[in-house]
Amino acid sequence: MQEFIWLLPTLPLLGFLSLAITGGSLPKRAVAAIGAGSIGAAFLVAALIAVEFLNSGEEVFVYQAWVWMSVGSFSPGFTFYLDGLSLVMMLIITGVGFLIHLYSTGFMFDDPSYSRFFSYMNLFVAAMLMLVLADNLVLLYLGWEGVGLCSYLLIGFWYENPANGYAARKAFVVTRVGDTSMAIGLFLLFRELGTLNIQDLMIAAQSEWQIGTGMAVACSLLLLGGAVGKSAQLPLQAWLPDAMAGPTPISALIHAATMVTAGVYLIARTHILFELAPSVQLLVAWVGLATLLMAGFTAMTQHDIKRILAYSTISQIGYMFLGLGVGAWSASVFHLMTHAFFKALLFLAAGTVIYSLHHEHDIFKMGGKRKQLPIAFASFMIGSLALAAFPFTSGYFSKDEILLAAYATGGAGVWLWAGGVLGAFLTGIYSFRLVFVVFFGASQGHHDEKEKTGFSMAAPLFILMMLSLLGGWIQIPVESVFNHGQLHEEHHVSALIHGIMIAVPLIGIAVSYLFFVSGALSVDKLMSYKFSKILHRFWFSGWAMDALYKYLLINPFMWLAKLNRNDFFDALYNSVISISRSAHGLVAKTQTGYLAWYLISMAAGLIAVLAVGVYL
């Protein structure tokens, strides 16, 4: 079965092709069958492969479909590399992807561009599978750009509204900054080590570079740039909140569960390189910490249900980066998986809320919806518990592992741990602020709407609820990828540390309860202070990052563009045109049409030539 691994990207690609070629002429049921069916089939293949791979006891399976190009010693192939890490990623992408596709068949049913939606979605899944299964960085980069393209297409899916197009362009341009850095990183790696096959690259790097070599630092920094752009970490996080302009299933699939975690996957995949550059690895941790705190504070102030979830995604990926930075590779991948479960659940539930309430996004215009939207309420409850790391939900195990690993590194690790715990406190507040405001208290409008969920929308929610609750018990087979034969070390910490980590999210939830349900604390009272108002405005704007970029980058760029309105290079080429045009005019004037004039010039020419012949 394993040799059928090439089917994984091919099935969604076929789905994309058939939907793209028919161009919306198929009936909606057929579109749904192709769109969701191709991903379902891919999931079945992935599951069969996984069973066989795990039973075989092999650590790695490589399958070469064909050689892509061959230039000298450089011959990247369509080669698929299966190990524990790509196995986990492949199952998340096809599994969660299938659930989201199934959900979309109901959610998008009224949309006129039904077929276009599924063709983009299928293309996305194909590119994402290419990314995680690639055995060389060139193929990985192909998938990397493919998912970026699909992200752009799907954010701007409702292109009639110019704001959506703007959001799509913003996402594309900002991630492009990271992608460029990554491309330079690939060039540098190839020049230094002469290969782009990931495993060969890691072996070569280990044997040729000392720990902390300048070249290792440069390469890992450049790859980190790519990861930061794709995973919406500081300082390239500005695109993700705006990316919520796309349909909600897109936010669940691309901007929560899979694509934005590609950066985490990249760093985990090349972790040996990062181990050779400890300073960069530490930087990864600090970037993660700064991002998770920034996004946590911002999420507390947002009104838009999807923007809250978007900032929460940024924050949770911050945790993954924190884990990567302290060397807790498997914990980060574990958090990646549980996050895919509960964040997909939250986004899909948010989609149900928005869909049922006629595209209402403002949580303060909902209120008291727990009877009206029971499935969405249950989903949000479970998803938020997992997000806030409530004991024994899936998020608890993964976040716990990351924070323990941070604590265990000692030194700066304690500070990273403390920051992470503060982030967990914020997570408790903002996730339950959302739940309490939407589902508790008095209804703030939309009293009469019923919950609109057919089977296709409810079933994925139930499955994801189970996964969010119980996903923490799943053992992911990545030990062999990260430990290199060393034994896994248990982190022994005092009961106090454990107690703090369990208690802090609960305190966050309690604070949220006091504010938004019991009314013991009042937001209005808090907002009456001038200082808190300024703070609120600052956080609400996402730490004024957009304004900062506007003044730092966009305005100078616009100024330069204005300065160079008459493009210098254009002027160069235009001058060639105008010179030859005036020369043409000059020569055309000699064609008077008078015979005598021609004869005179002929005679004069003859005399001149004769004179030259005679006297020279």
């Binding site: 064609q591 008077t592 049409g593 004869l599």
Partner: protein, 102 residues
């Protein structure tokens, strides 16, 4: 027998040639332009004769016969064109016919 010096013959040919050229350039009636062309052709023919006499070769005279034939053919074609032109434009003034300008 007293021979005419070569220079005299060549000077005469030159004068004839320049006269013909001036005629071609200044005349506006196309019939006169054609006649001036004939003068130029004959001037060059004369130059060939003079050169042939000077070197005692027959090629110059053969060349002159060829020029005569050529001039006859040229006149036939030229006159035919002139008749067509007159039919079409009702004029023999070439300065009117500057349609190929620029």
């Amino acid at each position: 027998m007293e021979t005419i010096p070569t220079e005299h013959g060549l000077i005469l040919a030159g004068i004839l040639f320049v006269l013909g050229l001036i005629g071609v350039l200044t005349r506006r009636n196309i019939v006169f332009v054609l006649m001036s062309l004939e003068i130029m052709l004959n001037a060059s023919g004369l130059a060939f004769i003079v050169a042939a006499a000077r070197w005692g070769h027959a090629e110059g005279q053969i060349m002159f016969l060829m020029i005569l034939t050529l001039a006859a053919a040229e006149v036939a074609v030229g006159l035919g064109l002139i008749i067509q032109m007159y039919r079409k434009f009702q004029t023999v003034d070439i300065s009117v016919l500057s349609e190929m300008k620029g």
